[in-house]
């Protein structure tokens, strides 16, 4: 888990640092200015990365079990 958790830094780097290097309109991507498309890509990547972290995070298996045991 410890290693996978660091994936969470990627969207921060992509959005906060990366944007400085892609601040341009052309080429349009799916009709959108390039810098906007870059941000959209990171929104989607952020969701996928969180899903990966969730899957490998032992806390979630544990909390699901506790949830069952309380019988609700």
């Amino acid at each position: 888990m410890t290693g996978i958790r660091w994936l969470g830094l990627l969207p921060f780097l992509g959005i906060l640092v990366g944007t400085a290097f892609v601040n341009q309109v052309e080429p349009l991507v799916f009709g959108m200015p390039f810098v906007l498309a870059w941000l959209v890509a990171w929104v989607i990547a952020g969701s996928i990365i969180t899903a990966i972290i969730y899957k490998f995070d032992p806390v979630n298996a544990q909390s699901a079990r506790e949830h069952d045991e309380t019988g609700r």
Binding site: V25, G31, V35, L36, L39, V43, Y54
Partner: protein
């Protein structure tokens, strides 16, 4: 009364009826009223937290910013994603501690963590100060929608009064359950309306997205990317970071967090909510479509762009549907904000000053404060002067000042003392207040900054000062090392 107004009025009545119905005969204790008895499952917490994102701020403010400023609007798409990533780790420990200590508010959280009622009162006051511009922007949005949809027959002043009255009534009667059910209706409506407009308008007027953006780029070169100065990349970076850190510092988001039944909800929501953000794209598309079709709106009028374009494009009944969606995006968050502000004043400020106040007295005071807070917000709204996005950024600048002290309080060995937290928050908020009231650029507050740094968001600079003061005062007031052993 035209068709548009009839549809909008129906939506407002439906929302009121839902609020009354959701009360369901339950006795309203303070905990019931503010955090829904802590019994909400995933879907409702999802809608409550999302309900705040999709407010008038995004609907009118987001499209207006895209219309009036161009690329700077992109920041609205970016910060939520980072905030949700943070929430994966940030919210579960907050929720756990709050449940264990039976806390109903953010201010109680600080009071308990730092063992300082004074800090709790300060946090509550900062929260109320930040909430006022947030409430003002919802009322401003209501005024815009109703007055434009009435084709001028209802003044925006009258519309603001009507809106404030509707929010006040249903909040007073039903508390947060009213908000939750309205959030359900609102989210479906806004989703449908925004998707439709964001696809229809660019294709109807330009023939597609590429064609639209090429036309805008030709008419206004440089508009679709960040400028070299002013709202530059540096502005974007500091604003995104400021707003991502402040996202869950709002007292009402904090309350929404406390409504959850179990902590796994937050981790699951952190996966889904970023994608939900993509609706914002379609909001931007509406604003961009308006640039060449309803040109000439400047200053605070940029917030009108989506609505002006709707009126120019559609029949009144459909303008009514768009307006109904807009009214709900203002009423639902408006009600959450009113609940948060009045609860803060009653439960945290009043009871903080007078700790032996009985529960039922506090609950009564919270309800009694609802119309008063609404009146104050109406007063500020009628004064006008700021765009919707500027109002929200002002609120964020205030509320993010709570972030350093909150995060440190979650650590096993909190390096921050109560004096440090108190001093840091006071300095941060004072810096924001000074710049806001004086309308002075950053350079005059911090003359030693190099000129290229002037574009940094003011709230972010204040956050920097806050961290320095927090660290300095904490170091000076830390108890002797023996009492607080250092981890290895």
């Amino acid at each position: 009364m035209n068709a548009a107004l009839v549809v909008i009025a129906l939506a407002a009545f439906l929302s009121l009826a839902l609020g009354l119905w959701a009360r369901g005969g339950k006795r309203m204790t303070l905990e019931q009223w503010t955090v829904g008895g802590r019994g909400f499952g995933g879907p409702l917490v999802f809608l409550l937290t999302a309900g705040e994102i999709y407010t008038t701020f995004t609907f009118l403010g987001g499209s207006g910013y895209a219309y009036g400023k161009g690329a700077p609007a992109y920041y609205i798409l970016a910060y939520g994603t980072l905030a949700y990533m943070l929430s994966y780790w940030l919210l579960p420990p907050i929720w756990r501690y709050a449940r264990q200590e039976r806390l109903v508010s953010q201010s109680h959280f600080f009071t308990r963590k730092y063992d300082s009622p004074a800090l709790g009162i300060l946090v509550a006051i900062v929260g109320v100060v930040a909430l006022v511009p947030y409430l003002v922007l919802q009322l401003k949005g209501l005024g815009i929608i109703v007055s434009i949809a009435s084709y001028g027959s209802i003044s925006s002043t009258a519309a603001i009064w009507i809106g404030a009255a509707v929010v006040t009534v249903y909040v007073t009667v039903s508390g947060v359950r009213g908000s939750a059910w309205n959030a359900v209706v609102k989210d479906f409506l806004i989703l449908a309306v925004v998707l439709f407009l964001g696809i229809y308008l660019p294709f109807h007027y330009y023939g597609g997205y590429s064609e639209m953006f090429r036309a805008i780029d030709a008419a206004k070169p440089g508009f679709l990317a960040f400028r070299p100065t002013g709202e530059s990349v540096l502005w974007f970076q500091s604003t995104v970071l400021l707003t991502a850190l402040g996202f869950f510092m709002w007292p009402h988001s904090f309350s929404a967090v406390l409504t959850a039944k179990e902590e796994g909800t937050f981790r699951r929501n952190a996966i889904v909510l970023p994608v939900y953000q993509l609706i914002l794209l379609f909001v931007f598309f509406c604003g961009f479509a308006a640039i060449l079709t309803v040109p000439g709106l400047t200053g605070t009028d940029i917030d009108l762009s989506l609505f002006r374009l709707s009126i120019q494009t559609f029949d009144p009944w459909f303008v009514g549907i768009v307006g109904a969606a807009g009214v709900l995006t203002a009423l639902v968050p408006g009600s959450m904000i009113l609940i948060a502000a009045s609860t803060l004043l009653a439960n945290d400020v009043l009871r903080g000053l007078q700790p032996d106040m009985a529960d039922d007295k506090v609950a009564l005071a919270a309800r009694g404060l609802v119309p008063i807070v609404a009146l104050v917000a109406v007063g500020f709204t009628l004064q006008g002067g700021q765009t919707i996005v500027a109002l929200l950024l002002m609120g964020y600048s205030f509320v993010t000042q709570l972030f350093p002290a909150l995060v440190c309080s979650l650590m096993r060995n909190n390096p921050v003392t109560k004096s440090g937290a108190f001093a840091g928050i006071v300095v941060g908020v004072a810096a924001v207040g000074w710049v806001t009231l004086k309308h002075s650029p950053l350079g005059t507050l911090l003359p030693f900054l190099p000129s290229g740094m002037n574009d940094i968001n003011v709230g972010f600079v204040a956050l920097g000062l806050n961290v320095l003061v927090t660290a300095g005062v904490s170091a000076a007031t830390r108890p002797a090392a023996a009492a607080n052993p250092r981890p290895a």
